[in-house]
Amino acid sequence: MTKKLGTLAALLAVALLVPGLAMAEEAGKAAVSGGAGWGHLSAAFAIGLAAAFGALAQGRAAASACDGIARNPGATGQIRGMAFLALVLIESLVIYALVIAFVIQGK
């Protein structure tokens, strides 16, 4: 058991460690494009705004879910499923903003 755990831990360490070293020189080569820089500024603004409001909305959803479970522990399964779906749908709006931010960041 310990031997298997040790092997697993070693494999995990290698798998997580190597990409860092491999990527380090890749990222160094990626150049930052010149230009007016407005693309970068607006991308940062877009994603910042989206993340802020997304976090607020998810906080409300999570709080309601916790309230519901506290009030009625028997319905935990259904409330958890509903809360999960709600969180993912809210998060997907933030993801759309992230994608747009990537698109305008390069221009």
């Binding site: 190597v18 860092g20 380090a24 990626a30 993912v88 997907s92 993801i95 994608v99 990537f102």
Partner: protein, 264 residues
């Protein structure tokens, strides 16, 4: 949007060049993609500075690998099915299949069982595809917009076809009309747009999550290669399963919505 190439990119392209000749000699539809009425619908071959350089782009190689893994793994697991003493693989897959079955039963109330194969197919494909992001020598195919759009368009076509098969074409379109006849034209347009938005949102959600994780990991690895990317990768582990689950969940919700019968 620069990715390192996976280890399959070079060998598979070399194999194709052995079989079919150099990539610049590819037939026109492969080189330039498909253009329907001015819209460049399907992409062309891999280009660097305008020159065709390879037969298969990286995400296609990775998607083929996912397909190969699924095509080999699941028949093997199915063949080793033992009812009395389940093996390890069988136990793991049974957990997932039970989970999916519960989800389908919840979202598609009647005769939902027949949709288990397609929802399970999406789930396992996307899960294994996202899992490629955990390995440094592979790239997740879902971190490319093409793969996620392919998946979401397949799902879109499927749930619409399922709805049409249940209700007939006229009956299915009647769902879009809404409760009152007076506002039916306006509501039809809005509902149609919402329908197409479902396909779009499935693709964007999956792409944004996986590509964002990948990009964040790359950026953090650029700063501090050793310790700092680990939380991002842990988040990536979670996101891989989560996004597959969400895709399958939404797929089953849409199928349930399309095939719902009012009378029950």
């Amino acid at each position: 949007m620069e990715h390192a190439h996976s280890i399959l990119y070079a060998p598979l392209n070399r194999l194709f060049e052995l079989l079919f000749g150099p990539a610049s000699g590819a037939p026109a539809f492969w080189r330039d993609g498909v253009t329907i009425g001015g819209f460049h619908v399907a992409g062309g071959a891999v280009r660097e500075e305008g020159q065709v350089v390879a037969w298969l782009p990286d995400h296609v190689c990775m998607a083929l690998l996912v397909f190969a893994i699924c095509a080999v793994l699941f028949p093997l697991l199915a063949r080793s099915y033992r009812r009395e003493e389940p093996g390890t693989g069988q136990n793991i897959v049974e957990v997932f299949v039970d989970f999916l079955r519960g989800m389908i039963k919840e979202n598609i109330p009647h005769h939902g069982e027949k949709y288990l194969p397609i929802v399970g197919g999406f789930f396992f494909f996307i899960f294994i595809a996202n899992a490629f992001g955990w390995f440094f020598f592979l790239q997740p195919p879902t971190s490319n917009l093409n793969t996620t759009f392919a998946l979401s368009i397949s799902c879109f076509l499927f749930f619409n076809a399922a709805g049409i098969r249940e209700h007939g074409l006229a009956g299915y379109l009647k769902n879009f009309l809404g409760p009152m006849l007076a506002i039916a034209p306006l509501l039809f347009v809005i509902e149609m747009i919402g329908n197409f938005a479902r396909a779009l949102s499935l693709a964007m959600r999956l792409f944004g999550n996986i590509f964002g994780e990948h990009m964040a990991k790359d950026i953090f690895s650029g700063f501090v290669p050793i310790l700092v990317p680990w939380p991002i990768q842990a988040l990536g582990l979670l996101a891989a399963f989560l996004q597959a689950y969400v895709f399958a969940l939404l797929c089953s919700v849409y199928i349930g919505g399309a095939t719902a019968h009012e009378s029950h």
